[in-house]
Symmetry: C2
Subunit: 180 residues, 2 copies
C-alpha cells in the first residue's frame, strides 16, 4: 500500500493535566488513522518501556526525558510519519524544545478543568498527591503552564463528546493538509 | 518527492571489531542512498547523544543499550525507513534480539582481521586496552562472537577497496529488492 503523498510527517502533541483525557483522545485519533496513514503513538508508558527507564523527576532527568522523546518524534516526523504523542509536559520550555526540533509540531491543549480531572482520578494519583504521598504532582504541588497559542484546544470532559473531539482533531489535520 | 514504493524498510546492521571500518562503510552507504531513499544512520555516538546517555558496560546496561537501539530501528524500519546501523555488537544474543524485533534485518559482518584493526588503532583504544587501561575491550579482553550466517561479509581493509565494498552492499540491497 502506498501511503506516501497522502500525508506529511507531523507531531500531534497532546498536553494537559493527569486525567485530562489526553491518552484516550490520542488513542482514538490513532485508531482512526492507523492503516490509512503512517502513525505512531508515543506516551509515558511507551517511552518508559523503551527509552527512558530509570529517569526520575529531577530537573536533569526531566530534561533528558523530553530530549529523548523529542529525538524519536524528530526522526519519525522527518521521515514522514505522523507521531501522536500524549505527555503532561507542564512546562512551556519543554514543549518549546520539542516544537523547535520536530517537523510540523501541532499542539493540542487538552484543557479539562482540574476539578474534573481530580474527580475522575482514574489512577488514584490525585488522592495520593493531596495526601502528600506524591511530591511535585502537576496541578496539585507543581505548576501546569498553560499553552498560550495551542493549535487546538479541547475540553477532555469527554463522556459525552469524545467522538466530537476526535473529529475536530482529524478535521484540523485534514484542513492543514497534514493528511489528505 | 515520492520515495515510497522505491524501497522497503530495512535495518542494515554492520557488526565488527573496533577499527574494522564499520562506520566508514556505513557513512559511505548512507551518503550514496540519502536523497534518493529514506535512510537514517545509527551508531554509538548518535545513540549516546540521544537515548543512551549514562549507560555503562555492565551486562544490565549493555542489554538496556541494545534494547533502545532495537526500539528505534524497529519503529523506523516498520515505517519504511532504511536504517544503517554500525555497532561492535559482539554478542550473538544481542544481534539476535535486534533481528527478532526489526523489519528486514540484514547483517553485514565487517570482517577485518584483529591485527589490521589494531595496527590502524585510530582512537588509540587498542594501545590502552593492551595496557589494561580499558577493561572488557572487544578482541583484546572480551570476546567477539563471529556471525555464523551474515547476509554480507566484507573485509574492511578498505584503503584500496572502500568503493568496492560500498557497491557490494548497495548491490545486495538492490538484488534483494530492499531498494528499487
Amino acid at each position: 500500500m502506498n501511503l506516501e503523498g497522502k500525508q506529511k510527517g507531523f507531531v500531534l502533541w497532546l498536553t494537559g493535566l493527569s486525567g485530562s483525557g489526553k491518552s484516550t483522545i490520542a488513542d482514538k485519533v490513532h485508531e482512526r488513522l492507523v492503516g490509512d496513514y503512517k502513525v505512531e503513538r508515543l506516551d509515558g508508558d511507551i517511552v518508559r518501556e523503551h527509552i527512558t527507564r530509570g529517569l526520575g523527576f529531577s530537573k536533569e532527568d526531566r530534561d533528558e526525558n523530553i530530549k529523548r522523546i523529542a529525538y524519536i518524534a524528530e526522526v519519525l516526523s522527518r521521515h514522514g510519519v505522523g507521531v501522536i504523542a500524549s505527555f503532561i509536559s507542564p512546562y512551556k520550555e519543554e514543549r518549546k524544545k520539542v516544537q523547535d526540533k520536530v517537523t510540523n509540531y501541532i499542539e493540542v491543549h487538552v484543557n479539562t478543568p482540574l476539578n474534573i480531572c481530580e474527580k475522575r482520578d482514574v489512577k488514584g494519583m490525585y488522592a495520593k498527591a493531596r495526601k502528600g504521598e506524591i511530591p511535585n504532582f502537576t496541578g496539585v504541588s507543581d505548576p501546569y503552564e498553560e499553552p498560550e497559542n495551542p493549535h487546538i484546544s479541547v475540553c477532555g470532559d469527554y463522556e459525552e463528546n469524545l467522538e466530537k473531539i476526535v473529529n475536530e482533531v482529524i478535521d484540523y489535520l485534514r484542513e492543514t493538509k497534514h493528511i489528505m
